[in-house]
């Protein structure tokens, strides 16, 4: 079974602007699934629906289903906090919370009620290693997270999500503010991570999409235009609009 399935999903913001129209997607496990397209295509909006961060947009309405392992996230009894730990999001702007590196990494765990110090320490180390940050910060876990460089901050945010041991990681343009070297480091870690996690990502560029994707969906004006495996989609797109975008004719 696909880990995420989206069925006939519509989403409208409070101001009446229709952000998503009739989305249908199936995202398989342990792959990097890329959502790409021009800005305002609805990529981030769609991702936020996967773990109901969309709830933060007041008075927005939706129709259709988002299924995680076959369970609808909009089902009334859903524990949205548990959902967000299982489908964890990393944002475009790396945003450490005030406090130390260690505090950041354990925040989600503590909020879930975890008290076990040893388990927290184990997860801190493991998540930092997975995000390729352990060697750089292992001696200063108690120092402020704001002292890190931009690239380190973004890897910290990734590690913070990983510490929750989620099923899916949502990456919303995680390399937008980063230099090429940091970008490479983050991308590098993605190949490792997909062995354990399912990754859904909005890439920084078509090039990045093509580099990292196993499967990709091209979005435009709130619709999914085309979904396919990366090999096919970036080389032989079926849709004219996809081709125009990939070859740089608009976007």
């Amino acid at each position: 079974m696909d880990i995420i399935a989206v069925k006939n999903l519509y989403f409208t913001y409070a101001d009446g602007g229709e952000a998503l129209r009739n989305i249908n997607l199936a995202i398989p496990r342990n792959q990097i699934f890329v959502l790409f397209g021009p800005s305002r295509a609805g990529k981030s909006t769609l991702m936020r629906l996967f773990n109901r961060l969309s709830d933060l947009s007041e008075n927005a309405t939706h129709q259709g289903n988002v299924l995680i392992d076959g369970n609808d996230v909009f089902e009334p009894g859903t524990d949205v906090y548990d959902l967000r730990r299982r489908i964890s999001m990393v944002f475009a702007v790396p945003t450490p919370l005030p406090g130390s590196i260690y505090d950041n990494l354990t925040y989600g765990l503590r909020m879930s009620g975890m008290r076990d110090r040893a388990e927290m320490n184990r997860r801190v180390e493991r998540s930092l290693q997975q995000a390729a940050l352990w060697d750089e910060v292992k001696d200063r876990l108690k120092t402020s997270a704001f002292a890190l460089s931009g690239g380190q901050k973004q890897r910290l945010c990734l590690a913070r999500s990983l510490a929750l041991e989620p099923d899916v990681i949502l990456l919303d343009n995680p390399t937008s503010g980063l230099d090429p070297l940091s970008t490479a480091t983050v991308e590098e870690s993605l190949y490792e991570l997909k062995r354990r996690y399912t990754i859904v990502m909005v890439p920084h560029s078509v090039q990045q999409a093509a580099r990292v994707a196993d499967q990709a969906a091209f979005m435009l004006d709130g619709e999914v235009i085309e979904v396919d495996s990366a090999d096919k989609l970036f080389i032989h797109p079926k849709s004219k609009r996809t081709e125009d975008y990939i070859t740089g004719r608009f976007g």
Binding site: L56, N71, V73, D79, R86, D167, R196
Partner: protein
């Protein structure tokens, strides 16, 4: 706990984890109750004033209540002198404070160099922080003798009170007028300056008219501030509950305001007496006047417009 490298097959946890969430439900309920408590407090204050003030309105013939004689000892409870006192002092105070306040706001907002503004604004904030009793004390001990030397029979006059009230209302007037000026779009100024107007012409013909409604609010809140002030006017207006004859110089006659009357007499009345209830009725009147002024100002400002926006929505 989901083990990440095995296919997660557990269904999404339904129902919030018990125990931990109960505390939250209680706290959030408390917050919601506290949130609306101010409505009840205002309502409660109103009902209390009404409860204690109503007997006076019912007991005393209206003709006497709005008559010109305030002699509580002889059971004469005519509010006219007190209304007159409050009105005179407030109007004069606002007439003094308004030109001073608005000019200062324009000076601070449009003309003063930043370093000077950084000095002047804290000083004006200090004025807002000076207790009214201290200003009343100074008015009583230093200003009143000064005014007496200017030829008045006594230094404790409506004018003395109005002068002190004017300064007390200044911080309010200045800060609201400044906000109003600040809200005038940059383009208005640039446009006027671009067609060759001097800075003064720009201010006088463009900026000030554009800030008109804000100025109106400044006036209203200034009035609200002045009419409710108690201790300073109690000390410096001479506390004579009479209406000066037309021939007299009103401004330099002693008067007594509604607020001062309550402050001066409440300590000496018997609970439940007519006098006691009349003082509550005066309180009720003050409450209603300020309620009207502030509600109107709030409507003009738009502060009563529900949820304040925060960029990016909310939780």
């Amino acid at each position: 706990m989901a083990v990440a490298n095995e296919p997660a097959s557990s269904p999404l946890a339904t129902a919030p984890a018990p125990g931990r969430r109960w505390g939250e439900v209680i706290i959030e309920s408390i917050i919601k109750i506290a949130g609306v408590s101010v409505i009840f407090i205002v309502g409660f204050i109103f009902l209390f004033l009404l409860w204690e003030g109503l007997p006076a309105i019912l007991d005393i013939p209206l003709r006497q209540l709005f008559g010109p004689q305030w002699y509580p000892i002889e059971e004469h409870f005519g509010l006219l002198p007190l209304l007159f006192g409050s009105l005179l002092v407030t109007v004069v105070a606002v007439l003094i404070a308004l030109p001073l306040g608005i000019t200062t706001a324009i000076y601070l907002g449009e003309i003063a160099p930043p370093w000077l503004r950084d000095i002047l604004k804290p000083i004006i904030e200090i004025l807002a922080g000076i207790p009214s009793i201290v200003l009343g004390f100074l008015g009583w001990i230093a200003l009143a003798p000064l005014i007496q030397t200017m030829g008045a029979p006594t230094g404790l006059t409506a004018f003395t009170g109005a002068l002190i009230l004017a300064y007390m209302a200044l911080p309010t007037i200045i800060s609201i007028a400044e906000d109003a000026l600040y809200a005038v779009p940059r383009e208005y100024r640039d446009g006027a300056l671009a067609i060759g107007a001097t800075q003064w012409q720009t201010i006088w013909r463009v900026v000030v008219p554009a800030a008109r409604s804000g100025m109106l609010i400044a006036v209203m809140l200034g009035i609200g501030r002045a009419i409710g002030e108690t201790m300073a006017v109690l000390m410096v207006t001479g506390n004579a509950a009479n209406i000066p004859a037309f021939s007299e110089n009103w401004l330099f006659s002693p008067v007594r305001t509604m607020t001062a009357t309550i402050a001066a007499e409440m300590g000496e009345v018997a609970q439940g007496s007519t006098h006691y209830h009349v003082l509550y009725a005066i309180g009720l009147l003050l409450f209603l006047i300020t309620l009207a002024i502030n509600s109107l100002a709030a409507r003009l400002i738009g502060v009563s417009g529900g949820r304040r926006s925060r960029p990016g929505g909310s939780l």
